[in-house]
């Protein structure tokens, strides 16, 4: 596992006598949709400099976990700390300062369709810095070069392919040189070659820009290629967190099902299902 650490105003990421401080710290996090519990009080931490892959099947709770890590959902109970900031208690100002230090690349890219690729990448700089327009343009072009999209700044997002959209979104995510980069399903919807290129890009970013990267994915090949550590999530619980080899060797049945793509036997209790639906509707 990579143990590089970064300097951090909040103290997170600095080595201490007890080892590196975590950049992300989740304690007893519970998440609910209506009366349905999605996350069952999970504990989880990510240290500086590592690439952590959060892996799990559909409905495992990984997207909900990511929304909590990004501060898009408040925890119903438990705490989420990013760079030492408790997201449940942070003020607007603290959240703003924190968000300038994190980058996010969403599953579908989430580029603003009304802006050109260059303007999308420049948006965080225009909003959060006092840099002059020329410098902003140079910096955004530089980041587009990093993701091999140099010269594409004048195109609109609708003119890009799926892989190019993901790379442009990545350029926007790293334009403020964040300490922490989140990547939601980088391989989703891409062919194997483009997907592999993106994996290489993530590894290059970690090495070149010394970022801590959290990747949420269900693509095994991609996860094993880029991860320093993997957290396996299933039905709202963390089954294990470990290195790639440890996860491969795990004798947990659900992990092996996931790794070997074995479908789970689905037993539906019709009465219980109907009862749940009725309760959810009433709620």
């Amino acid at each position: 596992m990579n143990t590089r650490v970064q300097q951090d105003a909040t103290g997170a990421g600095q080595p201490s006598a007890l080892g590196p401080q975590p950049l992300i710290e989740v304690e007893k996090l519970e998440a609910w949709y209506g009366r349905r519990r999605i996350l069952n009080g999970i504990d989880f931490r990510v240290d500086a400099g590592e690439i952590r892959v959060i892996m799990g099947g559909s409905g495992s709770g990984k997207s909900t976990l990511l929304r909590h890590l990004l501060g898009l959902q408040k925890p119903r109970s438990g705490t989420v700390r990013l760079l030492g900031v408790d997201l449940g208690r942070a003020s607007e100002r603290e959240m703003l300062a924190l968000r300038r230090q994190i980058g996010v690349s969403f599953q579908g890219g989430a580029l603003l369709t009304s802006l050109s690729v260059g303007d999308n990448v420049a948006l965080p700089l225009r909003e959060h810095t006092d840099l002059d327009e020329n410098t902003i343009r140079i910096m955004s072009r530089l980041k587009l070069e990093v993701v091999n999209l140099g010269g594409f700044q004048d195109l609109m997002p609708s003119q890009l392919s799926g892989g190019m959209i993901k790379r442009a979104a990545l350029a926007r995510a790293i334009v403020m040189d964040p300490k922490l980069l989140f990547f939601d399903e980088p391989s989703a919807g891409l062919d194997p070659v483009v997907s592999a290129e993106l994996d290489e890009l993530i590894l290059r970013l970690r090495d070149a820009l010394r970022m801590t990267i959290v990747v949420v994915t269900h693509e095994l090949e991609s996860a094993f290629k880029i991860a320093d550590t993997i957290t396996v999530l299933d039905q709202g619980d963390i089954l294990m967190t470990g290195t790639v080899d440890a996860v491969r060797r795990a004798d947990h049945e659900r992990i092996q099902d996931l790794l070997n793509r074995r479908p789970r036997e689905i037993a539906v209790d019709a009465d219980a299902y109907l009862r749940r639906l009725t309760e959810e509707q009433a709620a």
Partner: protein, 265 residues
Amino acid sequence: MNALSRPLASLGRAAVQSVAGIGYAGMLLLESLYFAALGWRVGQPLRLRQVLEQMRQIGVDALPIVTLLALTIGVMLGIQFIAALREFGAQSQVVVAVAKSVTREFGALITAILVAGRSGSALAARIGSMSVSQEVDALATMGIEPVRYLAAPALIAMLVMLPVLTVFADTVAILGAALYASPALNVTPAAYLLQTLSLLVPGDLWQGIAKAFVFAVLITLIGVSTGFSVSGGAEGVGRATTRAVVLSICYIIVADMVFSFFLNR
């Protein structure tokens, strides 16, 4: 028991949802005004460029259709008033009837309905599709408040442009009525317009302008709130767009009635 409790439960849910919707729209209004006035203090300044862009879309781009509609309404009112007042031998009162009804009522109402159909729906569709494609989430994670970036510029632009469009529509409608009615009254269009000016009092114009401010708030809040609450992909965006237009027009007409009642007692 079920037969009784189910309709009651539905009614209760609808009531709760309505109150929640009004509360949400109220919060959006307060947040938008807060970011417009004090956003710079928390690193979320309102961008003039965005406001100007919205003003162009809401106001300038609507000028041709507002002109066409206002002109038609003016001619139509001229036709109706001449026909109705002729029965009482009061044809000469057409000028005052058109002037008062246009400035107090029709100018603001027709402009608001038109803008609700054009810009209210566009707001709902734009924000709705942004919500569906995670663009709103992306803004939030970039530290850009979605309400400041998407709602506040639209609200300010609407508050400026709807009254301006209303005054413009008043002028064009009266011009339309003058073109149609002046031959019937045996006066020149210029004389018709001069008489209109002498009959109108500032209160007539202000009534329309005050309504336009209220309609501007309604159109923006309904468009933005339906946009932000979109779920269910492209179909959800379509539903939200329709809902935004229907709700806006309903609220505009009800608000207009309430306004007219209190201002003309």
